[in-house]
Amino acid sequence: MSRQSNRATDSKKMNSELFTLTYGALVTQLCKDYENDEEVNKQLDKMGYNIGVRLIEDFLARSSVGRCHDFRETADVIAKVAFKMYLGITPSVTNWSPAGDEFSLILESNPLVDFVELPDNHSNLVYSSLLCGVLRGALEMVQMAVDVRFAQDTLRGDNVTEIRMKFIKRIEENLPAGDE
């Protein structure tokens, strides 16, 4: 019966491990399918984008977050609400550019890489590229074109994991003709 008693706590942990391990299986498959790491990064980013454009709806429905008035507010929502909600972590927001159009998310831990070690022959693999795509796709759905990339990655020997986000432009809403 002891097996049943710790089910609740176990299942919570297991659920996030399900995601982590599934992601790992995907990266493994992509590394088999593509010849070089850049192609794998690109594919992961693309898949992330597709997830992001759908995830934003889930996010807006679950959280009571309204429209952000500036990029700083957006940064806060991403770090404190979205990352917390989906990955259980709260990255810190730092390194603002003077113009306020660029910032970094510093991840103390990255649940995606929990059981991962990069072999030497994959030094160009940006393992968590999916995250960039997710962020880009989600923000595009709220009319923000943003450039997202990994500036540092503990998996590749850096001290921290840093995602750099740069605001490009506001996407004009395309209203259907005669619907203004």
């Binding site: 049943q4 659920n15 399900l18 995601f19 391990l21 399918d33 889930d58 989906y86």
Partner: protein, 161 residues
């Protein structure tokens, strides 16, 4: 909202994105079979990893049936948030696990619509079960069938060693 729930959404999106990818990467004659077996293989790896971590502190299983019950209750609850609704066996190595509301199909349809896509949405889970069993010392072949979504049956055929 708990991380638990949200993480599930994330997993579901990732799962369908993987199906989409594997599907588009495979072209040619035996595309469907190859696509399904790729998904199955990924599930296998994940099942192996999950069960390893999940049974770290659990007591040894009595027998094959005990293992199957564990899969139906604890394992299924952890992954899909519900138990298997019905477990049948012929006591000769064949088990049928029925889930009346399978988590990865509920978003797809609640009837005959999209039926032709159902196998793709079950392949990963077939592998998941096979991988979990494999690491518990039970070698098997796992297949799945759907008659009306979102209900489905997983058939486990134990391979005697």
């Amino acid at each position: 909202t708990s991380v638990f729930m949200s993480n599930e959404a994330l997993f579901q999106f990732l799962h369908s994105e993987i199906i989409q990818y594997v599907n588009s990467a495979e072209t040619g004659e035996s595309e469907n079979g190859r696509c399904v077996s790729k998904l199955e293989n990924m599930g296998f790896r994940v099942g192996q990893g999950l069960i390893e971590r999940f049974t770290k502190d659990t007591p040894r299983f009595k027998d094959e049936l005990d293992v199957m019950k564990f899969i139906c209750k604890d394992f299924w609850t952890s992954v899909f948030k519900k138990q298997i609704d019905n477990l049948r066996t012929n006591h000769q190595g064949i088990y049928v696990l029925q889930d009346n509301k399978f988590r990865l199909l509920t978003q797809l349809s609640a009837g005959k619509q999209y039926m032709e896509h159902a196998p793709k949405f079950l392949a990963f889970t077939c592998g998941l079960v096979r991988g979990a069993l494999s690491n518990l010392g039970v070698k098997s072949i796992v297949t799945a069938e759907v008659s009306v979504m979102p209900a489905c049956k997983f058939q486990v055929m134990i391979q005697k060693m």
